[in-house]
């Protein structure tokens, strides 16, 4: 994907940072940490620096659909001291319902102008998903349905970023029974590249990492099979979890206050979703690397995974299977099926024996009771 400078009159990220009084040293620090988060070689830090120094910022239209704004909250809490400033400056947020100064008609006009004046240049970042039921009335902005806004805005976008689990896989709004018919954005936008950044919310460094990558290399980061950046979603938490040695040893927390819990054993039996969850929590961690859920003694709930609300309960490793009317794990269903098979076999044998008993009574008179084998014909 190539990109022509969209708004070359615009200042670069570094210029803006300078205006905000950010020192050269802090700037370089950020570039280095951003490069590290992206998984780049140290020698490539130079490219990040250069990109932020020379390239005009990426114009971003940040749309909010059906969501809770936790992605924005996470994004704004990016860990590096100057990150907040930098992030907001790294991309030019031309439209963001939560952060923009403009309101009402003005705000909507900015969005329309961007679509009209810079087609193919801006990026659409979507937070939240799209309710489709009843004509999409469950999320309307400025009198228009979100579905319409999204389709209209994404039409001329360079690419689309799906922030968070809502936009990526539906999250809580799309959990059963999904009353508003909420769908993740890839169900609506079919003709644009979509970068999926799942998580509820995604880790701030992951979000900045994705943007820095785009800015530095002028192309989307390498994506996995379902469109997530490999650098951040390539592995399960479990594969980098510091409690993994306890898992392999077979040492598990059984109760929240037991000896194992105190010793920091593996949380697998407490329902930890680390073995089925692709995210960067066990490496990048949260709140600037302060800690992360498993580090704080609680299992992962799999917030970046598809259907994670429906894969509950969170405190059991085996998910409920939606059998109508009852909550069952695969094991309960399996045992019932096995018991049914055994009962079926027993019932079959029972009826056979009853039939035999009757038959032999009837046949006693003529003394020519046929044995079972004799009843058999040819193959």
């Amino acid at each position: 994907m190539t990109r022509t400078p969209a708004t070359s009159s615009q200042p670069t990220t570094y210029e803006l940072l300078q205006r905000h009084g950010v020192s050269r040293r802090s700037f370089l620090e950020f570039c280095a940490s951003a490069a590290a988060v992206m998984g780049l070689d140290y020698s490539e830090v130079e490219r990040v620096v250069q990109a932020l120094e020379t390239k005009p910022r990426i114009p971003v239209l940040w749309l909010h659909g059906l969501e809770c704004t936790c992605c924005s909250e996470s994004f704004l809490r990016s860990s590096h001291p100057i990150a907040q400033d930098l992030i907001l400056n790294m991309i030019s947020l031309d439209y963001d319902e939560t952060l923009q100064a403009a309101a009402g008609d003005q705000a909507e006009q900015i969005r329309r102008d961007m679509i009209a004046n810079h087609p193919g240049e801006y990026v659409v970042a979507v937070e939240g998903n799209v309710p489709t039921k009843d004509g999409g009335v469950y999320c309307t902005i400025a009198g228009e349905t979100f579905q319409h806004i999204l389709e209209e805005t994404a039409e001329h976008a360079r690419f689309v970023i799906a922030w968070g689990s809502c936009a990526t896989n539906g999250c809580v709004q799309a959990a059963k029974p999904n009353p508003t018919g909420a769908v993740p954005i890839h169900k609506i936008i079919k003709n644009k590249p979509i970068v999926k950044v799942p998580g509820c919310p995604p880790i701030a460094e992951v979000m900045t990492g994705v943007l820095t990558h785009v800015l530095t290399f002028d192309r989307l980061p390498e994506l996995d099979r379902i469109g997530r950046p490999k650098a951040f979603y390539g592995q399960r938490l479990h594969d980098k979890c510091y409690r993994r040695s306890f898992f392999d040893a077979g040492q598990f927390v059984e109760h929240w206050d037991d000896e194992g819990a105190k010793k920091g054993w593996c949380l697998y039996k407490m329902g930890c979703r680390g073995p089925t969850t692709y995210n960067s929590c066990s490496t990048v961690m949260w709140n600037g690397g302060v800690s992360w859920p498993i580090g704080s003694g609680h299992g992962c709930i799999g917030c970046s995974e598809e259907n994670f609300w429906d894969n509950g309960p969170f405190y059991s490793r085996t998910a409920d299977v939606p059998v109508p009317g009852i909550n069952s794990t695969p094991e309960k269903i399996g045992m019932v099926a096995a018991a049914a098979a055994a009962a079926g076999a027993a019932a079959h044998l029972g009826t056979l024996m009853i039939k035999r008993a009757r038959g032999s009574k009837a046949a006693e008179g003529d003394g020519s009771a046929a044995s079972a084998g004799d009843e058999g014909g040819q193959a």
Partner: protein
């Protein structure tokens, strides 16, 4: 070599008591590869289920330092290693489907043939009403359908979900590349685990029914079904002994349709002498 066994022990000449008793022909049905497949399959399913249960519900809790222990690690190792045995065995059986004798292919559901449907309904009726009249040398329509849908279907399902999950341990590696697509298809890793568990229990239900039906058929038809999966030989009734004009005779013509049978193929091999005097 005794090719024919009757209801009477082989060590004596048949007498009047044998009149009306069936004569059995020994037919080599399950070739060695089929028998090996069966038992390797059975053993690996047992191992896979047991280790799978531990992986889902680890109950051993070793104490001490984790560097001294590798319980879950070993159990997973056994599970994965057995999974490869299961798969290779499964594929070998597919090869033998083509390479083996006709019994290796028996039971394919020919759903386009009306005659297959007739056999199926006949089999269902026989089992439902306890009117057992058609023992099969290979697999009948009903058993063939069951094996195809349940045993083979579950086998494939476990192979695909299993290797999909196995690929998670090495993203971008061989197994992830070739089987990783299964996960998004089923709605993610967790859902794939759920399906893997459900399919595993499917084997348990299958085995219960399988063992019951095998014992039932063996008892009803006396066709040596149980021992056939060790020896390969099934018994097939060809004729009866009957008394005629004071002599014992073998009734009916021998059946010759099965190749590779080790049983007698013509009346000359029958060890029951038709000239024997009836005891009466």
């Amino acid at each position: 070599m005794t090719e024919i066994s009757s209801g009477a022990p082989q060590s004596r000449q048949p007498g009047a008591a044998d009149v009306g008793q069936p004569l059995f022909e020994r037919v080599y049905v399950w070739e060695l590869p089929v028998r090996i497949f069966h038992w390797v399959n059975a053993a690996s399913i047992v191992v896979l289920f047991a280790t799978g249960l531990y992986i889902a519900f680890p109950y051993l809790g070793p104490s001490g330092e984790p560097y001294d222990q590798f319980v879950m690690g070993y159990v997973r190792l056994v599970h994965f290693a057995t999974a490869f045995v299961f798969t290779v065995n499964f594929l070998a059986r597919i090869y033998w489907f083509f390479a083996g004798n006709r019994f290796a292919r028996s039971g394919i559901p020919w759903i386009i043939l009306p005659s297959w449907w007739r056999s199926l309904f006949r089999d269902i009726k026989e089992y439902a009403l306890h009117r057992y009249q058609h023992p099969h040398l290979g697999h009948g329509a009903l058993s063939g359908l069951t094996y195809t849908l349940i045993a083979i279907g579950l086998g494939w399902a476990q192979i695909f979900t299993g290797f999909g999950l196995y690929g998670e341990t090495n993203p971008g590696g061989f197994w992830d590349t070739w089987f990783g697509w299964v996960l998004p298809l089923l709605g993610g890793s967790m859902q794939t685990h759920t399906w893997h568990h459900l399919f595993a229990w499917g084997f348990v239900a299958f085995i219960i029914v399988h063992v019951y039906i095998v014992l039932l058929d063996d008892t009803i038809y006396r066709n040596g079904l149980v021992s056939s999966i060790v020896s390969g030989i099934k018994l097939r009734r060809v004729r009866r002994i009957r008394a005629r004009k004071g002599r014992l005779e073998v009734e009916g013509e021998p059946v010759r349709e099965h190749h590779r049978s080790v049983g007698s193929r013509n009346a000359a091999d029958v060890h029951v002498s038709e000239d024997d005097e009836a005891a009466s």
